[in-house]
């Protein structure tokens, strides 16, 4: 009713008028876009020219962990034992405790996304000129059932292992932003602008360069910062071996020189999360994987289930528990 009254009182008017010269406006916008493209091109060319420092490997926590492990694998000439594997290896194997127990080892554990074959690349680098090297492959049941690995993570590892490789200048429209501004800013600020780590890890380690320094100082060990909460709903804990594992294990073994000893260690899970028969299932999986990686005897027998209070997450032990777990491992290895 109100609306009708108003409409009858006001004559129809235009909504708005454009007092613009369309050609001039298009020229303005086109010149902005053109300048942006020129800037992108310039950045791409500078990236490829070698004028700027190398692209930073500390852009994010994953990249920092992987590149640090690549560095450790390359520089640990005095060590003969290396632990490679997923993040359960990274946070469960406490190298200072190993040292206290007379075992000189290095932790090359990274992330499950890399895939077992990529763990082999790290192990291969570690084994260079070390015919007597011993490799422990540490896998969590979660990693064993993971359906796919990440090619992006593998690429980071390959680049980190081979400093001369730098695929950033390879042109592809789909990664236009990465090869121009991302790489440019990474190179420009490389080394002097710290990159913060998001989430729980950030509260403990702060920045990627600090994470790298602390991992290096601890022989490759990283602390878990969370706290396992059994009340939070999780995936099923019925574990099985994913289809990709067999070929990745074969690939893993093929990277290692003959004579290098390989042993497998399956990481524990929280008690409340484990289903009945978990221990038996782990032994079955262990025996299959050992076959594929041609593991040396005897098998490493560590507890596959621990009480919940030891865990930061389903896959990671808390620092104190990691020390205790490593102590047990040292005892077991000395038998």
């Amino acid at each position: 009713m109100l609306h009708q009254k108003h409409q009858s009182a006001v004559p129809q008017k235009a909504g708005h008028v454009y007092l613009v010269n369309p050609v001039a406006l298009v020229k303005q916008f086109a010149s902005i876009l053109l300048t942006v493209l020129v800037l992108f091109l310039a950045m791409w060319m500078v990236n490829g020219s070698g004028l700027l420092p190398r692209k930073s490997q500390l852009d994010n926590a994953d990249s920092a962990i992987i590149s640090t492990k690549a560095r450790l694998a390359t520089t640990s000439n005095q060590k003969r034992i290396a632990f490679v594997g997923d993040s359960s290896c990274l946070v469960n194997i406490h190298i200072p405790t190993m040292k206290d127990n007379g075992i000189e080892a290095i932790n090359l554990g990274t992330l499950s996304f890399l895939g077992i074959d990529s763990f082999g690349l790290l192990a291969q680098r570690f084994c260079q000129n070390k015919p007597d090297a011993q490799i422990f492959l540490v896998l969590h049941p979660e990693c064993i059932r993971m359906v796919a690995s990440s090619s992006e993570h593998r690429k980071i590892l390959v680049e980190a292992l081979d400093q001369s490789t730098d695929g950033s200048t390879q042109f592809a429209l789909s990664n236009l932003r990465r090869i121009t501004v991302d790489d440019f800013s990474s190179r420009l600020f490389n080394g002097w602008l710290p990159t913060p780590i998001k989430g729980q890890l950030g509260y403990r380690y702060g920045f990627t360069d600090n994470l790298r320094n602390e991992i290096l100082a601890a022989g490759g060990f990283m602390e878990e910062t969370g706290r396992f909460d059994a009340s939070v709903s999780l995936n099923s804990s019925e574990y099985r071996i994913a289809r990709r594992i067999q070929s990745e294990c074969t690939q893993f073994r093929s990277y290692l020189p003959k004579g290098v000893k390989v042993r497998l260690l399956v990481s524990p899970i929280p008690q409340s999360y484990a289903t009945r028969g978990h221990e038996k299932r782990v032994l079955e999986m262990q025996s299959e994987i050992e076959k594929w990686i041609q593991a040396d005897n005897p098998s490493v027998k560590m507890p596959s289930v621990l009480s919940d209070s030891n865990f930061g997450t389903v896959t990671h032990l808390l620092p104190n528990s990691a020390r205790e777990y490593t102590r047990q491992l040292c005892f077991m290895l000395s038998q």
Binding site: H3, G15, V17, L19, L25, Q28, K198, G202, G206
Partner: protein
Amino acid sequence: MIFNSNIFLLFFSVVILLYWLVRNHQGHRDWLILIASFIFYGTWDWRFLCLLIITGWVDFFCAYKISTSQESTSKKRWFLLSILSNLGTLGFFKYAGFFLESAFHLLETLGIHLTRPVLAILLPAGISFYTFQALSYTLDVYRGHIKVETNPVKYFAFLTFFPQLVAGPIERASFLLPQFHETRCINESMVLRGVWFILWGFFLKVVIADYFAPLVDMVFNVNHLGGSVNILATLAFGGQIYGDFAGYSLIAIGLANTMGFELSRNFSHPYLASNIQDFWRCWHQTLSAWFRDYLYIPLGGDRLGSFRTFLNICLTFLLAGLWHGANWTFLLWGLCHGLALGCYRIWRTSRISSSIRIPHLVGWGMTMLIVSFGWLFFRAPSVSHAWAMIQAVKHLPAPSWSTDYAIAVSFGLLAVWVYDVFNRRFPWEKVIVWPWSMRVFVKSILLVLIIARWGKEPPSFIYFQF
């Protein structure tokens, strides 16, 4: 749908295209703005859209009744109904949980133990903003400052105008509503200014605010970190909230400009202010003006002596704090600013102030100290958390990464300072006379920086929670 998302860019492109098609018909234009605003708001939660429409209709109807009522008691009744509707909605959705929780806490300290009811009330996006805009409309109609709007489409287009619906600027009906009655003129300068503001707005949000966000979170989300990082995190939050909110306001103004509408300025380089009064003239200007006109002045303003002025300022700021959120931290933030501004007013009107001249740098430093202290409470999840952070500065060791933290925060603060200085030195009025190539170059640099920081999962704006 947030401004810094791909879906919004698509949405706005479609709206602008349709906007061009409806240029010859004002009614169609208003309908288009209304529908676009409803879609924009409805993407958060369509139920809240219903709430917005219902409270909007109540205000529309009350304002109509106020203007047509002959008797003052009848006018007052309709006015009170509108106030009740707005504040009741705001009170229920925003403050019910807080007041109930506080009441139960008080009873428990008195030894009375009752079963606490579980309240799970979702906060509608931007409720504080649109409620205040609606309130200002009925208040102005009641006071006779503006004529009542009889066209519901224009009224709702004003109330829900999507560029400023969720986080302001809080517009007065006397400023924005008449624009819906006019044939808006979109000239080249307006479009270019709009684009300039949009680019700077996105720069502030995605380059500055989102840069600070992880730095702030890594300290404020825990309270066991000691040393300087707590102080630096508070400074970083000052940068983050400025980038976030000033960025939003600039984008809103820019979007409105490209549609031929003018919105009020909300920020004028506040971190260059040399006293707390100056700061509040430059920070969230539309909210400051709202509280000044509808609360501080009706309370007596500065007309009733120094003590009443002091009290009025403190009360106004306490309520401004409460406006931000239902938490004691916001009340403390408001109190901190109220006390500071009250003391400043007493100082300024005293005889000593005329004989002692505070150097600009000292004034600036003191202002930043007060403002940053306020930000500590504003960002901390609880008063006890804020207090723990204050104590941790002295009693807990600094984390191993505190040097990195200092470098990262300093870099961000430098960027904020450069932004403020640049924009004070070169406001749009000066930029428009720059050579064409110069403007294009600056815009291109901004665009490259925005593209570099544009995220796949963009973080939301801080002020959306208010």
